[in-house]
């Protein structure tokens, strides 16, 4: 029996127990993780997993059951319990499952070559990456190691309206982190790469250089006095701000008035230089899939177009609640998670300023290479994070800066963007080119 046939049987079981609607989300696959440190394997982990999540309805009431136990007897009991639980939940007219919308054609998400790539080769790649990063400069003295992960999985989602989809995917990643040491100071520098295909992974030398350069650039950072200055975010640090926006366009939270973007549709929320897209169909995007977590076809949604807020993101439930259409943004972390609204591949479109030139016209300012902390409060729109980077004087990067915070209102920050770089790289679900904010509060000494 294949997974779709199996899912159909589970649906029969659930309707047989009295469910008025039901959905099966079946996930099966394997993961590998290798950690290397100081040239040797630190951790090696192999996983095979299989599990399912069931949304079970009694009219407009819903329960969710998940299990990795596929024993027939267990499943029968689980089904009965699920139907009983659904009856105990609150009735909500927005509850219910999507109808078939048809699958979007997304080019293959599977890298066949991954299956023929040996463990030894992956291991060698890591050892080389770490070695090159350690050799980058004499001040690089410690290693946090290098990590390789890959995932293969097949997903089947089916519901009692006859919707059924199955797709496979592979995801890969490499990370490296090394530490520069100078007197009593230590600072790490890192790089990470997320891809769909093994051959598209960033080369060891390139990752090593990014990590090494970062640690060297930031070692010995000190706070600067509190002031308002132009702030340039490099492409990795900029992701945090785009992520804050992506979190705030959750259509359900907007409807519940729990987002600072509630009621802002059609209004100006950013500079005309800013266009933000969420695209579940992006070629080889790590967040791409033919259908979302409840089987609805994914699509490209323009969130902000030249500064104007154009759309929110919805799943079926959130859309019904808000009187909108689902945008194919029902996302599940794994089979044991309820689907919830989230971005797929969310990015700010690249601009036409060369990334190297963003600091050029700044007399005094901050170049941010790393942020830590929670960032955006999606309820209020307040943004605040700790920042590491370099001070900018007369267009040149000067002393390293650490332990300052940058803060502001997210709409004001996005509205003050006066240059967007050309260095967008699709390396994670949230991506951004580097950009410059005309003025922000930097808090230090």
């Amino acid at each position: 029996m294949n997974n779709e046939e199996y899912a159909a049987r589970i649906l029969d079981l659930l309707t047989g127990q009295g469910a008025s609607e039901a959905e099966v989300f079946l996930e099966e696959g394997s993961r590998l993780r290798i950690d290397v440190r100081n040239g040797a394997v630190e951790y090696l982990k192999k996983e095979d997993f299989r599990g399912m999540g069931l949304r079970i309805y009694a009219g407009q009431r819903m329960a969710f059951m998940d299990t990795a136990d596929f024993d027939e007897g267990s499943l029968e009991k689980l089904a009965a319990k699920g139907v009983e639980l659904a009856g105990m939940a609150g009735s909500d007219p927005a509850n219910g499952l999507p109808r078939e919308t048809g699958k979007v054609r997304v080019p293959s998400l599977v890298d066949q070559k991954l299956f023929s790539t040996s463990l030894e080769e992956k291991l060698e790649r890591l050892v080389e990456t770490e070695q090159l990063a350690m050799a980058y400069h004499p001040l690089i003295k410690l290693s946090n190691g290098a990590t390789y992960t890959d995932l293969y999985r097949t997903i089947t989602v089916a519901n009692t309206h006859g919707l059924v989809h199955t797709y496979e995917e592979t995801k890969l990643g490499t990370d490296v982190s090394v530490v520069a040491v100078k007197d009593d100071e230590k600072k790490d520098g890192w790089d990470q790469c997320r891809r769909r295909r093994y051959r598209l992974l960033r080369k060891p030398a390139q990752m090593a250089a990014i990590a090494g350069r970062m640690a060297l650039s930031l070692i010995g950072g000190q706070p600067v006095p509190s002031q308002e200055v132009p702030v340039v975010f490099d492409a990795r640090a900029a992701r945090g701000l785009v992520g804050g926006l992506a979190g705030a366009v959750n259509g359900k939270e907007v409807h519940l008035d729990n987002s600072f973007l509630s009621g802002m549709l059609g209004q100006k929320v950013a500079s005309p230089l800013v266009t933000v897209i969420d695209d579940g169909t992006l070629l080889r995007g790590v967040g791409s899939s033919p259908v979302d977590g409840e089987g609805v076809g994914t699509r490209k949604n323009t969130i902000v177009q030249e500064g104007i807020l154009k759309s929110f993101l919805y799943d079926t439930y959130g859309a019904r609640k808000a009187g909108a259409e689902t945008t194919g943004n029902a996302i599940r972390g794994s089979y044991d998670d309820l689907p919830g609204i989230s971005a797929t591949n969310c990015y700010m479109e690249k601009g036409n300023t060369r990334a190297e030139d963003l600091c050029k016209d700044i007399a005094q300012g901050l170049y941010v290479q790393e942020t830590i902390g929670f960032g955006t409060n999606t309820t209020t729109g307040g943004y605040s994070a700790g920042a590491f980077g370099r001070w900018v004087e007369n267009g040149q990067l000067t002393a390293p800066v650490a332990r300052v915070t940058i803060a502001g209102d997210l709409i004001e920050i996005f509205s003050a963007i006066d240059a967007v770089g050309d260095d967008l790289d699709f390396n994670s679900r949230i991506c951004s080119p580097s950009f410059r904010v005309a003025r922000m509060t930097v808090a230090g000494t």
Binding site: M65, D69, K77, A89, D257, G386, T405, A443
Partner: protein, 503 residues
Amino acid sequence: MRRREFLKKSACGAGMIMVSPFVWDGLHPGVTMGLDSQEEPLFGLMKEDLDQLLHVALQEGGDFADIYLERRLRRDIILEEDRISSIQIGMDQGVGVRVISGDSTGYAYSEDLMPGKLQEAAKTASFVARSGKATRPQPVTRGQVSDLIPSRIPLDQISEDQRLEIIRRANEAARSYDNHIAQVEIHYQEEIKEIAVANSQGVWVQDYQPLIYFIVNALAVDGSRRHQGRRRISGHMGFELFEDDIPEQVGRGAAEEAVVMLAAVDAPAGQMPVVVSNGWGGVLFHEAVGHGLEADGIQRGTSFYAGKVGQKVGSELVTLVDDATVPNLRGSFNIDDEGTPAQKKILIEKGELRGYMYDILTGRQLGKFSTGNGRRQSFRHYPLVRMTNTYVLNGPSKSEEIFAETKNGLYAKGFTGGVVDTTSGSFTFTVREAYLIENGEVTRPVKGATLIGSGPEVLRTIDMVAGDLDFAPGTCGKGQWVPVTSGQPTLRIGKITVGGTRA
């Protein structure tokens, strides 16, 4: 043999009635789940089975192997918009096998309990051992565990209606607190977890770890002003967590914060004294100091605190402990996830660094014993050195004195959370609920405050500590999530950078 037959067979062998396929029976109130782990071996895996698995794990060599068995029944009930929007029940079970060879760790697990599958996992984990010469494990002997997380009202005897009632009461209390409360969202999370650990040094122990996490978020709206207030309670315990009017208190607490903060003004920016409230303020020590005292960073030499035992690293007012033995807290247990008994460790005593936290691996690497800090998210994860309940002991001041002696500064009452860069020691905390201190009085609420500094610096600049130690629950992420508690009395950081928008 089919899996079910195998389980039945093991069950008969063990004289037990409770095996995996029937775990769902435990969902019906009144039927106990047979979870008395002190008595019956988990999954019916007996001494011979465990000895055999450890033997397979060390067949290719290696210095150490262990087997981690886990069964977890999870509930997650959500209330939104005055109605129960979702009731989730989930079940995980599986067996993880680890092999340590030198500094290398191999790990694999199986959700399938068939002997063949378990042996396959053991063989996979043995990949890191290449000596080819088998290591002989010591035969396991069942050990006793303490009773630090007893349940007075066991969770497996609670009906769904009782749970829903608690949620509704908290919702009602939050909603009726003030007419500015626009939304209330409640998460009731519960797990009934049993674990067993057996290792190649002969250890075999089992623990029963019930856990409840109850979270109320209340959103107040006034025109374009919004604030989401939050209160959380948690414990490794039974339903007694909700005694008396606890649900109402939690609901009102979240609502009160939300309403008060509607009037918040922008946070100041710059350096100033910050008074940190007792309880969840302890997260500051968890992040800013605790992570740097986990022995993996020490072994790598990347932690700021590496090589500093015996040195003065903070104010004499600071004594910091990590203590898994406080009864029923969210970070407490009888044994950690490597089978080591819970311990209380003094990390910093009167400002002097006394020691680090170890798991089995880092203990081996650094010539120490595990301090019972080996923890994992689930059987799908290998253990890492993690904190449990980390807190600062009481000091000599009264909290009123601390405020009175602070002319101007910030009072940080509630944190959204914190993050640390253990390498540089830098951390940030997002303050969700904060107030200005003006002329020794707590005055206006402020929004958007972040604290940033370095752990070592903060430890040095603490200049007043009160005697009102309290605890608060949280979940700590380090690639894996584990439940923890942070705690501290009210205290003052003499000077720290507050990141606000008013420069």
